[in-house]
């Protein structure tokens, strides 16, 4: 669930795609820089443009940290207000999104240190019950939600790389930039986190294989 704007910027700036995408990303970057300049010059209302563009990504990022909608909005709001206070510290060496995501990650991290989203260790999270043959979409979604919540029960050093890796649409470099860690470190932690999840939910893969076999047999 990479936010559309971020996705658009990355695509155009880092990968180099179509001219339209480049223009769109350039517009976003220009708009951010222009709004920041106006805010720093004393125009408080110019911050509204920044909030409008980044509210979605901020809320979604916070949601992945806590999986609680109300809390995610509170965290996103706090991050945006802190961004407003600290706009002068954005040194335009990195993109505005990198700076903003790093700040938001810091807000989420500190808040979760005080009030963890999940108080159980991952070993105590029960594996979802084996699905019936006629598994509905809703049942499948709720079972997936158990796995997603289990991510929050991972030890802190492994949890955040997973949260940010998937938030940034499986972009290790972007996750590393947000955390302010080397890519290698993030990759290593991600691998360890995956290992922990794999050990916790061995049944999901078997079950998937079973469903595929049944589908093939049915066809």
């Amino acid at each position: 669930m990479q936010p559309a704007l971020e996705s658009c910027c990355r695509t155009a700036l880092e990968v180099g795609m179509s001219t339209t995408a480049q223009n769109a990303a350039g517009n976003v970057v220009d708009a951010d820089a222009a709004d920041v300049s106006r805010v720093l010059a004393g125009d408080v209302n110019a911050f509204e443009g920044i909030v409008r563009r980044w509210q979605g990504p901020m809320v979604n990022m916070a949601w992945r940290y806590c999986r609680d909608r109300a809390r995610a909005e509170d965290l996103a709001q706090e991050a945006l207000v802190r961004a407003w206070r600290g706009l002068a510290t954005w040194r335009q060496e990195s993109s505005f999104s990198t700076w903003l995501f790093a700040l938001a990650a810091n807000v989420c991290r500190n808040d979760l240190k005080r009030f963890p989203a999940v108080n159980l260790p991952i070993e105590k999270i029960a594996e979802p019950a084996r699905a019936a043959d006629q598994q509905t979409k809703a049942e499948e979604r709720s079972r997936y939600e158990v796995v997603r919540r289990a991510v929050l029960a991972l030890p802190r050093r492994y949890r955040e790389p997973v949260v940010l890796f998937y938030f940034h649409e499986k972009d290790v470099a972007a996750a590393a930039r947000t955390m302010g860690l080397p890519e290698g470190t993030v990759k290593a932690r991600l691998s360890r986190a995956r290992e922990l999840l794999r050990r916790r939910f061995p049944g999901l893969e078997k079950e998937r294989a079973g469903i595929k076999m049944r589908e093939e047999a049915g066809a």
Partner: protein, 116 residues
């Protein structure tokens, strides 16, 4: 669970749309903070003379205390404690370990307090 399966579960999530009042509530907070008067700076001009005087008084007190207590302490003779070297050395080492632990804990507590 393979990496592909994990990507399938963790990567595909519905996007949340912020509630309708989110933008307004952020801007309300920002405007409130912008309208608030700037924080009052610490009155260094007034505080510096007081700090200088307090430092002088403490220093003078320490010197006077040492001057009066020093000779009195010199007349006191404590009985010598006889400890074997085998006992003294581990005790010395334990003392250093305790001191290092205490210093680490104090530093940790201070950094936690400052980080709040």
């Amino acid at each position: 669970m393979t990496d592909e399966r994990m990507d399938e579960i963790l990567g595909a999530e519905d996007e949340l749309v912020p509630s309708s009042g989110f933008l307004a509530s952020v801007m309300e907070r920002v405007r409130k903070e912008a309208a608030a008067p700037p924080p009052i700076p610490f009155p260094w001009k007034r505080a510096v003379p007081g700090i200088v005087v307090a430092t002088g008084v403490f220093g003078w007190s320490a010197v006077e205390f040492a001057r009066r207590i020093g000779p009195a302490m010199g007349s006191v003779t404590l009985p010598p404690v006889q400890l074997s070297a085998a006992l003294v050395r581990p005790l010395e080492q334990a003392g250093w370990v305790v001191a290092a632990c205490a210093l680490s804990i104090a530093t940790w507590l201070l950094s936690r307090r400052l980080a709040r």
